[in-house]
């Protein structure tokens, strides 16, 4: 395990100092014996990096394999955390799954499906003008949402690679004890950090602000949505 971590650290350091970005790849050890031609990896040398003398006999590069800290062309992640809502924005336990698809060197499409599970406490009442008012707590209600965002990755900062996300979602929220349901269209903005912990695997942690509107039953009509979310989980490279 310790040796593995050292290898990851060396790979990360090499990725940052030796060009970084999506095409970073650990250089072969010049002291190591050259592998027999049959064993030579076809993608041992990434494009743009001169072939090392020790592997000069390796086959030409066919495709560039992603480095250990690379998000990859496609990736998925699973995250868990908490969401803070209030009024008619649900909050509580947040579970989310994401699908990432690379759009450019630094940008990925980030499609998220999230589930929020809060308490079922009632928080709605009729005011003296007979208008329905909902005043739920920060961890009340439940919601399901699909969100389409663009994730912009920044250059690695040591072992961390920060990013920001911005996009829009479509969701359904429910406050069961009040029999209140709604369809929401919130904007999502936030950021996070990812740390590669193994080839094709990274730990991610992110926070986001949710701001938008929803349409609700029980004569509530259009209501604002305002919430915060903090989640963390694991991200797995697919390609």
């Amino acid at each position: 395990m310790r040796g593995h971590l050292i290898a990851i650290a060396i790979a990360l350091a090499d990725g940052v100092s030796g060009g970084g970005g999506a095409d970073a790849q650990p250089a072969p050890d010049p002291a190591a014996p050259s592998p027999p031609p049959d064993d030579a990896a076809p993608d041992a040398t990434p494009p743009g990096r001169p072939a090392h003398a020790g592997v000069a006999t390796a086959a030409p590069v066919a495709t560039a394999a992603p480095a250990d800290d690379d998000v990859g062309d496609q990736a998925i992640s699973a995250q868990i955390g908490v969401a803070a809502g209030g009024r008619v924005t649900p909050g509580g336990l947040r579970i989310a799954g994401q699908y990432l698809y690379q759009l450019s060197d630094d940008d990925w499409f980030d499609g998220t499906a999230s589930f929020t599970f809060g308490s079922g406490s009632a928080g709605c009442f009729r005011d003296r003008a007979d208008a329905v008012v909902c005043n739920h707590g920060v961890a009340d209600g439940a919601g399901i949402e699909v969100v389409a965002t663009i994730r912009h990755m920044f250059a690695p900062q040591g072992a961390f690679r920060p990013y920001v996300r911005l996009g829009v979602g479509l969701g359904v929220v429910r406050f069961s004890n009040d029999n209140v349901s709604g369809l929401t269209i919130p904007a999502h903005g936030g950021g996070g950090l990812r740390v590669a912990i193994a080839p094709g695997v990274a730990v991610v942690a992110e926070g986001e602000l949710v701001l938008g509107f929803g349409s609700f039953n029980r004569r509530l009509g259009s209501q604002p949505q305002l919430g915060l979310g903090v989640t963390a989980g694991a991200e797995f490279r697919l390609k």
Partner: protein, 111 residues
């Protein structure tokens, strides 16, 4: 940019405020509409009135007091008729017996 975001968040947080709550003051027809107790619509409580059962005034939220009605319930305190206008038509500022106090206090009620 930061001040604009704060302004939007503040505006959203400030909207939909109310002088009443599910605890005390909301209109109601049934108990489920209140945190604890619904005084159903009548001439005594026009439109219905969500409230809390109390043994003395310390059991009532700020701005309310415990009167001897219905075995002890919290009602909004008042000094004049205008203080009860927010509850709607037919609410008045009346002198009622304080629960557990042996004195009279002014509180909003229908009759």
């Amino acid at each position: 940019m930061r001040s604009a975001i704060l302004a939007i968040v503040g505006a959203l947080a400030a909207c939909q405020t109310s002088d009443v709550s599910r605890s005390v003051g909301a209109r109601c027809d049934v108990m489920d509409e209140c945190d604890q107790r619904c005084l159903t619509p009548s001439t005594a409580y026009p439109g219905g009135f969500c409230t809390l059962t109390c043994a003395d005034r310390t059991a009532c939220p700020d701005g309310t007091t415990c009167v001897t009605r219905e075995g002890g319930v919290c009602l909004f305190t008042c000094a004049s008729e205008s203080d009860c206008e927010f509850l709607g038509e037919n609410w008045h500022c009346l002198s009622l017996d304080l629960q557990g106090g042996g004195i009279q206090v002014k509180a909003c009620a229908g009759t």
